[in-house]
């Protein structure tokens, strides 16, 4: 009984789940997703992709138009939130303003008729884990943002639910606190081992927190896998464009004779002879470009238009003499990020970003030779956006 969470972790299964709002908007379209017991699953996607709706359907706050929601082995599709044994952390924290921290933490237990002695013990336990001991008699109004966030988290933990649901719980914290809370969350999850579904629009949060990450777009699941797999083997153009910072560079290319041609560069493709001749969208991660160093990789000559120094690395941005790739998928992906690498000046030419070490001799306007890593290229179908392999 000394353990914070005693109930065995339960998995979550979504089977062909749809959400249609009045007026015909399809917020969630045919999602099939299995969350393993004890897993930390992150739902990520641009705003309006349906990730919060999926979470709310798991919580029971939103009705399911079609399909089934299972928690453990129980079909909860038509169960009320209070019957589902889930705990949720809201983006706004949603603390009860007229209750003290102690009452806030204990409210869920009180509603579930846990005895007063048990309640006190559990509230105190959780408060000491989260460092809230000295705040127990304060009202939420007298707390800082970070403290409120911890109370919201504690209110979920103290319930010892079978499932945690978190709706962008860190988005209201300032940047530094967010990063430290992120690692705290991972540690907490390791310690409690409760199945967690976490919604965020921040791809870095998704990659660092999630044991698996489900990428959504327009209410449909794009890909669900480990962060490593998503990053290195994206299923389509959208996933490739959405994940990674700085994001992947895209350019129109042509596959022919085991090599890909773009702008004025030809790069041989590993095992590329099996690929048919066709035009493709070529993706290159910023780390797939290095300074030319004579290791046999094909090189390209570029002129940097902008250099961003980040201390131990620098981002070199340059133009290619070829039209910019502008598809719905890349635009949707760019929309989602904090416009950090959206184009400020409208330009029809393709822009590339290369991630180079800080000591790389780069000057804006001075020609530079970069090498392309042939094993770090991605090909996408220009029509469907699907990955070509």
């Amino acid at each position: 009984m000394t353990q914070l969470v005693s109930a065995p972790a339960a998995g979550i299964r979504l089977e062909g789940v749809w959400k249609r709002f009045k007026g015909g908007v399809e917020a969630v379209r045919d999602i099939n997703l299995e969350v393993e017991p004890g897993e930390f699953m992150v739902l990520v996607g641009p705003s309006g992709c349906g990730k919060s709706t999926v979470l709310r359907m798991i919580a029971g706050l939103e009705e399911t138009s079609e399909g089934r929601v299972l928690i453990g082995d129980r079909d909860v599709t038509s169960a009320l939130p209070q019957q589902r044994d889930v705990a949720m952390v809201f983006q706004s924290y949603a603390l009860y303003p007229r209750m003290t921290v102690r009452q806030n933490l204990g409210f869920g237990l009180r509603m579930r008729r846990v005895s007063a002695a048990d309640r006190t013990r559990r509230v105190n336990e959780v408060a000491s884990v989260l460092g809230l001991d000295h705040l127990l008699d304060r009202r939420p109004g007298a707390l800082s943002g970070g403290q409120r966030q911890r109370v919201a988290m504690g209110r979920a933990i103290v319930r010892e639910p079978r499932v945690f649901l978190m709706d962008e719980p860190l988005s209201n914290l300032d940047a530094k606190l967010r990063v430290s809370m992120r690692s705290q969350l991972t540690l907490l999850h390791k310690r409690l081992g409760v199945t967690t579904v976490y919604v965020t629009h921040d791809q870095i949060e998704a990659m660092t927190l999630g044991q698996r990450v489900a990428v959504l777009r327009d209410g449909a699941l794009q890909q669900c896998d480990t962060p490593q797999t998503l990053f290195h083997r994206p299923a389509n153009l959208f996933v490739a464009a959405f994940l990674g910072s700085p994001s992947m560079n895209f350019v129109q290319g042509h596959l022919a004779g085991g090599a890909v041609r773009f702008a004025d560069v030809t790069v041989p493709v590993d095992g590329g002879s099996s690929l048919a001749d066709r035009s493709v969208i070529l993706g290159v991660r910023p780390t797939g470009l290095t300074l030319a160093n004579g290791n046999g990789w094909p090189t390209m000559s570029i002129v940097p238009t902008l250099v961003e120094d980040l201390g131990d690395e620098r981002y070199v941005i340059f133009e290619l003499d070829t039209p910019r790739v502008d598809t719905e998928a890349t635009r949707a992906a760019v929309d989602a990020r904090a416009a950090d690498d959206a184009l400020l000046t409208p330009d029809e030419r393709a822009h590339f970003t290369a991630r180079l070490p800080a000591d790389a001799p780069v000057t804006v306007g001075e020609p530079l030779d970069l090498a392309v890593n042939p094993s770090r290229l991605y090909f996408f179908d220009p029509e469907t956006g699907d990955t070509i392999s």
Partner: protein, 297 residues
């Protein structure tokens, strides 16, 4: 080094001062004075009855006369109050027993209505709300006869219980509106958090929604108490002599031709004290900030 800093400010300040002088006319100071004088004069005009009420009530009965009605009393006297209180007492108590439950119950029911119409919505909520509001626009006089007949056949005519019931029901539209507007402004996430925490509709209302609705409660209470206290028509129709509210007692004291002014004024002053007190006591709950800390902040 100081040269650019000394030349810069006039350039910035120049157009601003120029703009101000261009807009202000030469007569502006006189206009402002005139405006305040006019407002002050109007204020005095509208306060005249209140002034007459207060000073006449505190005058010694021998001092009261029409020709000297604007003069201040020579000395403070409570003789008029003492003379009038025995006549007013029963009405005062009746009104208390009427207005307090009427205001409390009506506000409570309005809070429930407002909650289910905004935070715990049911199919058809959008149709029900306008129907409830409709009740606000039905004049008392229009329903007087059917109401009296209904109350008579229900055996609720004559005592205070029927009158309380009528005031509760007649207050529902406005209290529902007050609470619904208030709850609409409160984040849905707090209600949802309570649901996920395991509270059903009633406990969400009682433990989460009602405690944060204190400002709305104060507004509804002030409104309902005042309208029940000040009502004359329903009281006159629905109660018999023993249960007359203060408005009727007051009318009987002050309405006659032979009644001395000082007694009429003293009873009027006594009759309006409770509503003023309610406003002073509950008014402080009008303050904002009861929601502090619920959300990200």
């Amino acid at each position: 080094m100081s040269a650019p800093t000394t030349t810069a400010p006039p350039v910035v300040a120049g157009p601003v001062t120029a703009g101000r002088t261009a807009i202000r006319s030469r007569w502006a100071p006189y206009l402002t004075t005139f405006r305040y004088l006019a407002l002050f004069g109007l204020m005095l005009f509208f306060l005249m009855p209140v002034y007459a009420l207060v000073i006449t009530a505190f005058k010694h009965p021998a001092e009261v006369s029409v020709s000297r009605m604007w003069e201040l009393p020579a000395s403070l006297s409570f003789a008029s109050f003492a003379a009038v209180w025995p006549k007013l007492q029963d009405g005062f108590l009746n009104s208390m027993m009427l207005a307090i439950p009427a205001a409390l119950i009506s506000s409570m029911l309005g809070a429930m209505n407002g909650f289910v119409l905004s935070k715990w919505r049911f199919p058809g909520a959008d149709a029900v709300f306008p129907l409830i509001l409709f009740g606000m626009f039905i004049p008392y006089q229009a329903i007087l006869i059917p109401m009296t007949q209904t109350m008579t056949s229900a055996g609720l005519r004559g005592g205070l219980d029927g009158l309380i019931l009528v005031h509760i029901i007649y207050g529902l539209p406005i209290t529902t509106l007050i609470f619904r507007s208030y709850f609409v402004g409160i984040s849905d996430e707090i209600i949802e958090a309570a649901q996920v925490d395991g509270a059903g509709m009633l406990r969400t209302f009682a433990f989460v929604a009602l405690p944060i609705a204190l400002p709305a409660f104060a507004v509804a209470m002030i409104w309902q108490f005042t309208s029940a206290w000040n009502d004359f028509l329903f009281g006159a129709v629905l109660t018999n002599r023993n249960y007359w509210p203060i408005t009727i007692t007051l009318n009987n004291i002050a309405g006659g031709q032979s009644v001395p002014f000082n007694e009429a004024m003293a009873s009027a002053l006594l009759a309006c004290i409770p509503t003023v007190l309610v406003y002073i006591l509950l008014g402080r709950f009008f303050m904002r900030g009861l929601m502090a800390g619920a959300l990200k902040g």
